[in-house]
Symmetry: C2
Subunit: 160 residues, 2 copies
DNA sequence: TTCGGCAATGTTACATCATAACAGCGGGGT
DNA sequence: ACCCCGCTGTTATGATGTAACATTGCCGAA
């Protein structure tokens, strides 16, 4: 399946279901790997998934603190690091914020379309773009590892 | 001219000359536009150009303060904002750091190869990659404006 | 069973990156 | 002379991220 199109889906889908799907997949993935998706980490994942907009670490913290009084910045950053390590969320570098991964499981660098108006951010998986990135690196004799691709602009809805 | 290949050039070129070229071009570009490349701004540009590694705003500040006692964070950020606005430097989002632009003049989003070992960062201008980005956005009915492309890994020298 | 190791979390403090808000200064036009 | 405006100065604070050490709880080895 290609990316569902978060920004587009945002208008139409049942988001409760969307979150539940993501959490369920996350549990399966972690179970299959022996990675420990603890209640704390799952709660953070759930918070990140509350919307299809990238969420700042301190926003996560505020939300987490409502149910988890001892939460502090390291609490959140550790959970975010774990989730990124397992490929369950991505960091959006140009916003210093975090977003649920729609292709969880297969570790990958995401490609993102970020609407500057509504904030909705869609993760895309574009093979040609992937190839172009690899070719560009290869041409420069550069061994690429992590790839950051973030396009800001206006989503279809906001442009209309 | 294609990007000179900063990371590669780093090993071979006369960097004093490289800085001078960049400053000279910057003066010409600003003069041609009526943009005010003040001594302060030029000094900041020079500091950013001291290496081909992205430099943090507070590193710029430390260096600037040696000759300019009143320098404070806003001093530096204003100069950096000006220089970015004129297309003379880029911000490397994944490092929160700034880098001289090798294609100054033509406003553009850069594409970068960042060596995680030596820090040398090469700006590339790859038409195919550009096209792939535009196509990917178009396919999602997304009106792209600003593009962030940063590939981290090992430069040819460090991989060897 | 007890102990030691280890992963997760708690806790305090701090480092790093960035901006708001207002003041002062100086040149150019009227 | 006066005002406007862009640049810089200055103080304070906001936003993002991490170091370092303490505590807890589980699990396996002796």
């Amino acid at each position: 399946m290609a990316a569902r199109g978060a920004a587009q889906a945002h208008q139409t889908h049942n988001h409760r279901e969307c979150i539940e799907d993501a959490l369920k997949r996350a549990r399966e993935i972690c179970a299959g790997r022996g990675a420990q998706l603890t209640p704390l980490r799952e709660k953070v994942l759930q918070i990140v998934w509350r919307s299809h907009k990238p969420v700042g670490a301190y926003d996560v913290l505020d939300e987490l603190a409502r149910s988890h009084k001892s939460a502090r910045p390291p609490t959140v950053y550790r959970a975010l690091d774990f989730l990124m390590g397992e490929g369950l969320i991505h960091k959006i570098e140009s916003l210093n914020a975090y977003l649920g991964c729609v292709e969880a499981g297969a570790p990958h660098s995401g490609q993102f379309l970020i609407c500057r108006q509504c904030g909705a951010t869609e993760e895309i998986v574009d093979a040609k773009l992937e190839t172009a990135l690899d070719q560009a690196a290869k041409q420069a004799h550069f061994a690429g590892e992590r790839k950051v691709v973030e396009i800001s602009g206006l989503c279809a809805r906001c442009a209309a």
